[in-house]
Structure formats: C-alpha cells, structure tokens
Amino acid sequence: MDSPFALLSLIIAMPFLGMLFVLTIRDDDETAGRNAFNVCVFTLIANMIIIWRIFMVLDEDNHNLQLLESFRWLNNPGIDIVLGVDPFSLLLILGAHIAVLIGLSGIRGNVFRQKSLMIFTLLFLSMATGFFVAADIFSFYIFFEAMLLPLFMIIGIFGEVRKQGLISRFFLYNFIGAIVLFSATMIIYHYYGSVTLEKVSSLPLAGGAGFYVWGAICLSFLFRIPIWPFHYWISSINAGIRNPLAFTITALIPLTGLYGFIRFLPHDIPAFMETYIMWGNIIGVVTMLFISLIGFINKDVQYKIFAYVTVYYIMYLLGIFTGDRMVSLNIGFSMFAFLIIVASLEILSSYIFHKEQENETSSRGFLCRARKLSYAYSFLVMAAVGLPLSSMFVNNYLILSKLLSANIKMGMLLIFSLALAGAGLLQELFRLKLENNECRLNKDDDISKAMFAFMLFIMFVLLMSFIKPLWFVVDE
C-alpha cells in the first residue's frame, strides 16, 4: 500500500527541521537553552501526533510493510531510499519518541549546553526514525550508521564519561559493526540488487557468500547488543552516564541491533547458522546471568538499571532467535512499555542523584518523605519487574513461554536472570524507602506537581497498554 502523502518522510524530516530551527536560535545561554528545549518538545509532540495518525491509516492485521515511499538517490550504483512501516516498527518509533520525551522532562532544568543537547537529540531521533521506517537494505544501512554521530556527541559531551578513551572505543565498536554491515549490504546488492527488507530474510545466499553475508549481518547487530563480549563498551559508558536523556538515548542502541535481527534473520536458517545461533543462545544466557548478578551486587543504581536493560534486551534477542513471527510482534508490544519504563526510571533516579549531590547527603530513606516521588518510583519499579502494570506482562509471558518450550534449561536460567535483575531494582526501591534519620532531604525536595502529573500520565499510558495494547488507535 503506497502512501498518498509522504507521512513517513515527514516523521523523519520533522525532527531534522526542528534541529535546524534550534540551530538558528541565538546563543544567549539560559534563554537559548529554554527556547531550544521548547522547540524540541514541540517537535516531538508534533511528530507523535503524526505517528498516531499513521497508526490510524495502517492496517493492523497486515504485518507487511505499508505506506511505501521511494526516492531515487544515486544513479551509480542505483540506490533508492525506500521507506515503509508496519505496526511493529511504528510501535517502536512511538516508544522511542515517548522515551525521549520522558528523558527531556528529566533535563528540563539543565543549563549546560542545552542547545547542543537538543540539536543532537533531534538529529538522533530523526536518524532513528529513518532507521525504523527504512524498507530496503541500503536505506536501512544508511540510517543504521547515520545515528552513530549524534549518539557519539551526546555521550561525549553529556555522558560525563570519565575515561575519554571509552568514548572513542564506543564509537569504533559501533563503527566496525556499521562497516561490516556495509560490506554485507554491498555483497547483497552485487548479487540481487537493492532488496527490500521483506525479501532479505528469504534470500537464497549459499556457500561462502552466504556464510560471509549472514555472519557479517549478525556480527554487525551483535555489536549493538550488550552480549558478551560486546557488553563491555556499553556497560562502561552506560554505568557512568548521569544525564537521563543521554542514558535513555544510549539505551536505545541495543534496540537497533534487535530490530536488525528481526528484519534480517533468515526465515529458513541455513544449516551453518544453527550452530552459531545455539552458541549465541548460550552466550546470551551466560551474559544475562553475569550482568544480572553484577547488577544485583552493585550498589550503584545506574548499573542496576543498566543490568535490567541488558537482561531484557538479551531476552528479546533470544526470543528473536526462536524464529517465531508472533514472538517478534510480542516483542514490539513489550518493548513499547519497556522503553517507557526505563526512561521514567532513569529520570527519577537521576533526580534523586542530583538531590543527593545538591544537598550533600545520602538519599537513603528519601522516598519516606517524598510522597509523589515514592508513588511514581514504586509503580515504575513494580512495572519494571514484570507485574501486570504494563504490556510487558502479557507479552513477556508469551515470549518466555516460547523460550521455555524451545529449551527448558535456557528458559529457566533466563527467568532467573530476569528475577535477579528485578530484585536489584527492588533493592534500590527499598534502600530509598528505609527510614534514615541522616537523610537531609525532605518533602520540599519532592518532585513538582507538574512532574508528578506527567508521571501519572506515563503510568496511565503503561496501564492502558496492559489493558489494551493499541488503545490509542482510533479506527477511521
């Protein structure tokens, strides 16, 4: 189904135009920062409205790519930019937008280079949107690599990463993945021309070319997912980031790897790949156990959140490896809530951390005095651990059922890791709720009413996603 109006191009262009608008704002520090922030929020909301409109136009029962748009980009080699979307990818786009909006709410009071942060955020969002709506291999690759730059800049400037070498390493790891994907893309293009994403998973690549191509593709996506040993760079970065927006954006990187697997993994997995997938499963489970364990013992909440994020992403990856299309759709629904929960948790944790720093006191027992914060934080932690407060509950159930039936031992270890990661978050919740007389924070340090209202809205969205996943879609 072709788009009568270039809606998909619009949702890519919108953040980009917003970025250009922000660029033109005069540098007057505080005012500029505030204006840039407002422009960013407005752009995001406008984009979300367009996405909502696209949902209405989309056929939810049709899992093929719809609303196709095609633009000739290069003549030699002949490359088109092809865009298309299905309910799954649109859900991820919406989830990413909401997550970034939540992240923005956490940096509202930020004065350090706010304009730069908004510029790179909008650029990243534009590229990420393009990534999710790309419908052929070249378009996919272009956006896959294009999002690296804003990511690098956000982490480098706002990530508060202590060791500078880490940032370069982060970029190079991702860059290697992108280059590897590029080489695979070129080979596919060489043999089959510009292939749409729907057909790429059924390409009859055999022999050495097939080995290299599938291997390169899998490797490039694995670079983005924090699976051992690729977890090291992302854990080093993530665990240190204190800017909630930067963390949220960094937490979206593994999503790109997962999405790539969903689109590219062959329907009929070649024989040689099955062994590697088996090893991938083993390493995935070991990584989950490992990371969840470290998250459990680590006292730093950032690492706990990172461990939680990692464990869930690997669970989704293992779900994708089962090759079941319905599992992939469930992953989309689950990830929608997952992204929102992670972003919300992050901004609240960051808020608590900054209060700690400002008042030079421990945050232990803070939630006893900050009621609004306590409600929001408790809800989010409980939703995070998998209680029926969001779409994660049902969809994780389906994913785990599939995994358990595929391999019971793997499934059990997986669930144990999930439980451990959840227990880590619960530990943090109770640390904050345990009464402590030494804590100098009081109810005046609670979140503002506006922030609480926003959190209530988020909780509403999560609850509604549990009650009816696509509740916001109004049939035309």
Binding site: A146, I157, S168, I179
Partner: protein, 475 residues
Amino acid sequence: MQNWLVLFSETVLLLLYLAVAFLVNRYRVEKTAKTFFTLGKYFVSVSLLSSLIFYDKSVFPSVWQNTAYTALFKVMIYLVALFWFYLSSKWFLNKNRSSYAYYSLCIAALLLFGILLSARNFAVPSFIVPGLCLITGCLLLQNGGSEEGRRILRLYVFFAVLFCLFLWIGTGILQYYVGSLDYETIETFLRKGDFPLPPVYGAVILILSSLLFMMAAAPFHLCFVSIIRTTILPVAGFLTLIPPFVYLSCLISLMLGVFSPFENMIRPLLLSFAVFSLIIGAFSANGQKNIRELFAFSSVFNLGFMLFGLISFSNTSVIGAFDFTLIYILSMFGVYTVFLGIKSRGDYLFELEDLSGMAGEKPYLSAALLIFMVSLIGIPPMIGFLGRLSVINNLVLEERWGHMLLLVVALLFMANAYLQIIRVIYFEPQKQKFDRTGKAVYICLFANLLLIFISIFNPGYLLRDAETILNGVFG
C-alpha cells in the same frame, strides 16, 4: 585564429597575470594583501571560462590537447583555486604581509597544472614537473625562513631533484627506444611488444615513480607531510587541494592511454603503494598533535583509498575515483576554511590541544568541522559516504574481498584519528579565548555546507555532469 585564441585564454592570460603582477608589485605604492587576489581572480575566472568554452580546442594537439576530460579537471582546479585564493587573501590581510609571491607562484603553478593536464607528449611533463617542484620549493620559502623550514626545503630539493632525474631518465630511455615522446606513438610501440622489456619497462616505472612522488603516495610522502606541517596556511591549503585532481587525471591518462599495454604489470605496484598509503596514513594520523600534519596524513590515506578503487582502471573505477577525489577535496576545503577561522591573539592555531573546548566559543565553526570530519570518515548520509561507496562498490564488483577487508581496517584507524579532533573540540574544557572569525570564512563555509547538504539529498547535483563526461570519454 581560433586555435591561437585557445592559447591566449589559458596560458597567455595566466602569463599576463604574472607580468601585470610584477609591474604592480614594483611600481604601485598603495597595495594591500588583497591587491594581488583582486588582480588574480579576474585572470583565473577568465581562464576558467575559456577552458569551458574552448574545451576541445588545442594549439599543438600532438603535444598538448584539450578535451572534455581535461576541461573537467581544469574547471575543478580553477574553481577550487579561486575560492582558496579568496580565503588566502584574508590570511595575508590578517598577517599584513605581501601576497605577491604567493599569488604569483600559485598562478604559475595553475598554469603548469593546466598544461600538464593536457599533455600529450613526455617532453611536457619533463619540463612541467621540475617547474612544479621549483614552485613548491619557492612556496616553502614563504614561511619566513625558519630553521626547520630551511631543513625541509633542503630535503625537498634533494628528493625533488632525484625524482626529476628519474623522470628525465625514463623519458630519455623512451626517446631512445621509441624515437618519439608522443603518447600515441609510444602506446603503439608498446603494444607491438617488439622491444627489450627491461629497459622500456624500467623507463615506464621511473616515470611513474616521479608521478607517485608528486602525488605524495607513501612511502614517498614524507616531503609532502613535512611541507604541509611547516609552511604557511595558504600554501598548505593550495598544495592539499589543487594537485590531487591534476595527478589523478595524469595517472588515469597514462594508465588508460600510453601505459595501457603494461597495465597488468603496473597494477601490483600501484596496489602496493596504495596499501602503504593506507596503512601509513591511517596509523600515522593517530596520535598527532599538529592538526595540519594529521590532515596531511589524512591526504595520504585518502590517496591510498582512492588508488585502491582505481587500480582496475575500469569505467566504474575511474568514475568512482573521480567522485571520491571530488568529495574529498570538498571536505578538505571545508577543513582548511575552518583552519583559517581558528585564531587566538592573532595567531593561527595548529596544535590539537589549542583547540580544546572550541565548541563552546565557536559553535558554528566547530559544527562545520564536525560535518567535515564525519564526511571524511564516510558516515552516511554525508557526502563522504558517497565517495566511500564508489570505491567499495568497485571492490565488490571485482570481488576483491581481501582488499575490502584491508580498507575497512585502515578506515577504522583513520576514523579514530578524526575522532580525536572531535573529542578535543567538543569534549575537552576550553583552554583559551579565540579571536573573532572573519565573514569570509563563514561565507565560504556556508557555500561549502550548502553544497554538501544539497548533495546529501540529491547527489546527482554534484556528480551527474562529471560522470556524464567521464562516461563519454571511457564508455
């Protein structure tokens, strides 16, 4: 009459400039640093126009012949030169120095480049190349005669003479065996195969070695790198931006024309130089404290990259190499424009640590540099990606997987070097105040960025016409 007009438009005009400039310098009292640019731009503009108008007209076709192909390259170098001269005038204004020598030498170099591009006889390069070396040496003297500058000059003169000797020896051998220095005659002779191979082939590769020296292909690159490091900024920019087109054109002409019978034998040599350029360029760029030196190695790296794609000398590889070079020059032009904007207390800054935290005070310059770095790394959808795409597409078409792997590894190291610059500018705290940047820099940057952005959305805008011409030549 018509033919002589052609000669007038290019060479006479440029020679005329030299004469007029000499007179102005000698007799005019009120002259500024901009005077010679003001003078030169008219001559260069007219030369540009006439090379377009008389693109297929030649004075001495057997020695020096204009075609659409040569016109394409001439247009490129004149355009780039024009903009670069404009920016260089700001440098001289800022330094309050006479620009007479600089513009005279550069325009003389342009003249020689133009002739070299159209050469159809080895007698031409035999005179042009030493001339270019001489001009380069004189340009080196513009740095005010520092100790290091003199040392570099001595080194350069030594090796320039050496390679000019190689050129002359090679030319001499060819003259001896072929009896002529004309390209067509030599090509016909080589195709027959009826000659003693060792000396003839030796002559060919001696000539090529001088071309490789002029191109600054590793391991013959050191002179180039040292010059870029020590000379003044306008000269560094000129030597980085203009010659690559010229030498690329020469290489293509030679390999597809006069040396085509030896193509299979020369290819491994070019490949080995390409590998060296890639590796040395990529590794040496890392850890550099001087950004000009870093970009000099970047030029070496990009040369290797381009050569990698070019060595099959097929239609697509030639077009790919041209695209790559064009895009590379566009990015480097932007980089050098930014260099002209970075000053502190009147001094242009070249140490990497001096640029710490520049983004805080110079956000637009930093953003522009960021875009150029990203383009050089080759991240899509920046224009540099198109260049990378052209080369790698070629490798895939020819199923040169090992080469692709090597390319990728070298690219990673080079990307790391570019990242250091981005890191220093954006992530480090600011250490010093920067001077106000002139309008000219912003104007040129804007034009450059506009071109880049248009090319992102419509690459054909930049490349279509050039590809059409090249296709027409080789298709």
